[in-house]
Symmetry: C2
Subunit: 107 residues, 2 copies
């Protein structure tokens, strides 16, 4: 077939190295951190743990939006929350730290 004659990667390793099953989860993570408001929250948590109201005081984001984002980030395993009396301290998980560390290199 003509097309394959012109193709450089004759063994076509790509689809083996990066099948959909591997690409999709990563794309999901990237989509999660690609939203400015969520990225801001992650950068805040990289500095130190914060409760929702702390995040509010550092940003222009609404309480509701922050809660939603934190829920999403927890579901993805990037963030964990620990109850501290009236507050809930949110912090990066190991996975979250690793990812944010890689992201910061893009700045």
């Amino acid at each position: 077939m003509f097309i394959y004659q012109r193709c450089d990667c004759k063994e076509c390793k790509i689809t083996k190295n990066f099948p959909d099953s591997r690409v999709m989860p990563v794309a999901g993570l990237l989509k999660l951190v690609s939203v400015p408001s969520r990225l801001n929250i992650l950068l805040l948590l990289k500095q130190s743990p914060h409760c929702v109201c702390d995040i509010q005081s550092h940003t222009k984001l609404s309480q509701t939006l922050i809660s939603h984002h934190l829920a999403d980030l927890m579901k993805a395993g990037l963030v964990a929350g620990e109850k501290a009396g009236k507050f809930i301290e949110y912090s990066l998980t190991g996975k979250g730290k690793k990812i944010v560390a890689n992201l910061v290199k893009l700045f």
Copy 2:
């Protein structure tokens, strides 16, 4: 103010280190690479340069979609195209290589 009393990061370095002007461009890049079809194209180009029809033969993406994505990736400076007769060979730029290299660490 109450909120600041509870806040761990008293100097509030975050907004200085990561102002919107720095966060937004990165978020834009991340959004670009967070789309599975675009991420697939980048991973293909990481392997070696490809023309549109090569990418088509490696994926299930339509010619039109590939062209649109490549245009977007070029606009962002991640990809460059070089005319080779009837074809156009697309490859990662330096910036593109750097970013894809960091992304691969997330796999």
